[in-house]
Symmetry: C2
Subunit: 208 residues, 2 copies
Amino acid sequence: MAGNETIQGFLDGLASSAPTPGGGGAAAIHGAMGAALLSMVCNLTIGKKKYVEVEAELREVLAKSEALRAELTGMIADDVEAFDAVMAAYGLPKGTDDEKAARAEKIQEALKVATDVPLACCRVCRQVIDLAQVVAEKGNLNVISDAGVAVLSAHAGLRSAALNVYVNAKGLDDRAFAEARLSELEGLLGDAGPLNERIYEIVKTKVN
Amino acid sequence: MAGNETIQGFLDGLASSAPTPGGGGAAAIHGAMGAALLSMVCNLTIGKKKYVEVEAELREVLAKSEALRAELTGMIADDVEAFDAVMAAYGLPKGTDDEKAARAEKIQEALKVATDVPLACCRVCRQVIDLAQVVAEKGNLNVISDAGVAVLSAHAGLRSAALNVYVNAKGLDDRAFAEARLSELEGLLGDAGPLNERIYEIVKTKVN
């Protein structure tokens, strides 16, 4: 499980010429940091007298942000696995026509997984962005800057994972499969940019 | 050194009600992931026949991105130290007038450091963004999506650290000190948004 690696080890692996970890793992960490920061603001709001009116709502947000964080942390390893499977498929023998056909099929299978893994990351990052709006509006003012960092993290995760969806969908022969994923992706990206800016502005106004 | 912590441990600490690590550490990791991904693209471009014309330039970029990565990784711990110093100053006794004066002075000293630490992070993230443009334009096409993730990471790091500059500069009595930092910050943020979008588009066009 990639979460057991040290930060330094992960960064060294990222910087190296080894194919994994790469941008997909970084995208999952972006999202996980975003979810974790929302949990932090919730944890520092719940139980405070001044915030008793929003406590029930932030308890629900906390349960969701912790579930999303667990999903995103798992995606660090999912990305490595999906990428390695694509590389392994490209490495299959291609001496005979049968081998060529089997290899092509394995590549396509692996590319489908490698499209769906970052798309799942996009989906979860988008949920983190939506939760960030609640936290930015209602969280403890003393740590509200962390809600701003959370939305920036999740939005960077969404757009980072989107690049990996594009790359892998491009190689798919099954265009119906690819177009369905790209269409869902556009929906997820949709108003995420303006929403990110709106939430950042809510926070910026509070800290200035 | 915070880089020796596991990813899981860092995320758990981020999510908890413990005051550190917080958004400042996340900002430094954003920047460090950005720098690491630029190094990765350089490492996978240098030595390839097809990219011999850009090899010398990308060797220079690699030396810079690795130096920036080291700086940013160090900032994970700097942020914890600066934040803890502010909290320690607030915790000083305030029974007598002398104690009150000494405490107020220590708080101001600690806030100055806690303004300069995220500002340094902004400065380095901005340098990562500038390097990302070269890598997005000239790096190995097979891994160009990682240059896109790099710029998103560095830009999220810049804006995340900016929130911490705002928060701490707000508490400073020395307004000349604060205004000088805020003015430098505006310069760093300046065209970073449009530049981020421009670099992302360069990459998106190449992967689609």
